[in-house]
Symmetry: C2
């Protein structure tokens, strides 16, 4: 049985608790991007995106590497990438489930 500290876990999950952050993750899931590329991608605000990137880094979900005046961000590793994929898979399944069986519940 895997023993994970709940506070560490929450810190990690905090990264996934905001729409902008999740969109950033989707945006850089396949390949790394600079901050400004991400800003363009999401049609967002530079300061805002930068703050979320700092957050995602703190949560352990992404890593950044500086190259000259650019900073490239990418999701940390394949396992995190797999987790992101799995969330989509589970979500699809849950949606189907909810649609089929629980539509009488609101």
């Amino acid at each position: 049985m895997l023993q994970v500290d709940i506070d560490t876990k929450m810190k990690f999950l905090h990264g996934l608790s905001n729409k902008t952050r999740v969109q950033i993750l989707e945006s850089i899931k396949e390949d790394e991007k600079t901050v400004s590329q991400i800003v363009q991608d999401l049609n967002g605000n530079q300061s805002n995106i930068s703050q979320h990137l700092t957050c995602l880094k703190g949560c352990g979900l992404v890593v950044g590497r500086q190259d000259g005046k650019y900073v490239y961000y990418r999701v940390r590793n394949q396992l995190v990438r797999d987790l992101l994929t799995m969330i989509d898979v589970v979500l699809e399944d849950v949606e189907k489930d909810v649609a089929c069986c629980d539509s009488h519940i609101d």
Copy 2:
């Protein structure tokens, strides 16, 4: 490529964004429990736990069934259970990673 609506996704992930909710999920991951069992388990407040259970149900993460005056909650299905496990796995890996390579970053 899996296409998932971002707002639906956020609604789902919202369930994982709070410590109490994650603790509830951990508590009922293996077997269903009544509200009061969960309250005891977490040493929590009845109203609070009940609200979080409603939230988790709305997020699609858990389902409840009434049996007399008791309501039993359980995680929705095996796929959700797998996701919870995977989070722990990824987290372990990330922690190791952070400890080894990024300890110079705070």
